[in-house]
Amino acid sequence: MRLSRTAKVVLGCVTAAGLALVYVPLLLVLLNSVNADRSFGWPPSGLTGRWWRAALHSDGARQALLTSVRAGLAATAIALVLGTLAAYAVHRHRFFGRRTVSFLLVLPIALPGIVSGIALNAAFRTVLEPIGIGFGLFTVVVGHATFCVVIVFNNIGARLSRLAPSLAEASADLGARPWQTFRYVTFPAMRSALFAGGLLAFALSFDEIVVTTFTAGPGTRTLPIWIYENLARPHQAPVVNVVAALLVLLSVVPVYIAQRLSSDTAGGRL
């Protein structure tokens, strides 16, 4: 396919414009966090570091961050175990209902968050509350883990399908027991995929708000919930701006790590 010079330039311009559009709102968030005005207007009236100092001392934000990290770590741990097991079953075995299993795993992220959210809410209300388990961090973790499994499943599955089964067979032929084969052959080959899957799962949990809203109960506040609750409060707006800016800046970290890990896990396997 020989593209004319004009076609290449046009494609390049579309891409550049698209990327510019993607980054303008994010830059605005950064600018907004150092804007001297309380309410945001364009152009900003002056620069200040005041809000950053205020945000550092905000107990609400710190508590919410801690809750988000806890929920994310717990959900990621569960998703890593369940997703890896499922990926092994689907990619290393042939069995009846194999496609149904993959379909079932995708369902929690394919269905809208609001449906998953109120389904979990209704189920917790009818089943868990009568036996004394109220809404809290536990119910949030259950909800998050459910849709994080598919992320791990996809990452491990992609790696497994590229990994020749003959390696494991060779290991078995050489006398390794299944556990030894896993420990010395399969696990090292999958380590970066596990890490990337875990990273994506954590990020998904960290950012999730809809399912969280319906599974958290009044006392549990993750960072997105905190942001959402404080959006409407004018005197909290500057602190919310700083937290938002911080999230934009921090978003570079996982991408950088994923890039360093491997070429096929550019944060792309959703």
Binding site: T15, V22, I118, A119, A123, A145, G268
Partner: protein, 281 residues
């Protein structure tokens, strides 16, 4: 990878499958079942308590009230519009990234597309609220041209949803274009096809499953969204908003309403699956 039908292998398979299937059945399918059941219950209009008497009033109301039909159609058209816009933007961008830009540029471009995915849904929706506000950047930029931005409303909702889900469309399309062997494109040119012909007969069929896979995300995420609409949509009401506002007041009605997006998405997944798109999800 043929699995020997030995009993050891079957035991291993059971051990592998049992925990994830048990979790998904108990935590997810179980919850969906409870939701479906509660759609057939009623609500005491005085106390807002759920009354466990079996009836189909909610579905009857859902199908006969014109407002619900309007909202369902509006939601469907917004989800479709967002999907089409994202596909139209993603195709040239992914094509440039995978096929035109030099090898050294591919990685940085991919990173540039992926990074905003991590910046947070709320942060981005909120950024657009600031952009589209009366004193926002959009109005400031359009003022010299004598134009006015869309403000908050349905158009804003489409723009912001399209913005939020764009990477979900670019990534699969990019992956598909990168996998496309260069020889195929050369062969097409050797056989006398011009750029347009090659695009239509070779490139587009090759990326079709990827576009469909991306559309599962853009379509489904738009269909269920209610926060973006709350933040920039003005008075626009979508299915998600109605469901969310009904949950505490009338859970059975909310449950019946959520059957609408579920049915739409299951139909969509089934259609897309036949085109083989779910394999590249």
């Amino acid at each position: 990878m043929p699995a020997a039908p030995a009993s050891g292998s079957r035991l291993r398979l059971t051990a592998l499958l049992a925990p994830p299937l048990l979790w998904l059945t108990l935590a997810y399918l179980g919850s969906l079942a409870v939701l479906l059941l509660s759609a057939f219950w009623a609500t005491d209009s005085f106390t807002s308590d759920v009354v466990h008497t079996w009836n189909t009033d909610n579905f009857h109301e859902l199908l006969t009230t014109p407002v619900y039909r309007t909202i369902a159609l509006r939601t469907l058209s917004i989800a479709a519009a967002v999907t089409v816009i994202d596909a139209l933007l993603a195709l040239p961008m992914a094509f440039f990234m995978a096929r035109v830009a030099g090898r050294r540029w591919r990685r940085p471009l991919l990173v540039a597309v992926v990074t905003p995915l991590w910046a947070g849904y709320l942060v981005k929706a909120y950024a657009w609220r600031v952009m589209l506000g009366e004193d926002g950047v959009v109005n400031a930029a359009l003022a010299p041209l004598g134009l006015h931005g869309p403000g908050y409303g349905t158009t804003a909702a489409v723009i912001v949803l399209g913005y939020l889900w764009l990477p979900y469309m670019i990534l699969p399309v990019y992956a598909a274009l990168e996998r496309l062997p260069g020889r195929v494109l050369e062969a097409s040119a050797d056989l006398g096809a011009g750029a347009w012909r090659t695009l239509r007969s070779v490139v587009l069929p090759a990326v079709r499953p990827a576009v469909l896979a991306g559309s599962v995300f853009t379509f489904s995420l738009s269909l269920g969204d209610y926060l973006t609409v709350q933040i920039v949509g003005g008075k626009t009401q979508l299915l998600g908003n109605v469901i969310a506002s009904q949950v505490t007041l009338d859970l059975p009605m909310a449950a019946a309403l959520s059957a609408v997006p579920v049915v739409l998405i299951v139909c969509y997944l089934a259609a897309v699956r036949r085109a083989g798109a779910l394999d590249s999800l």
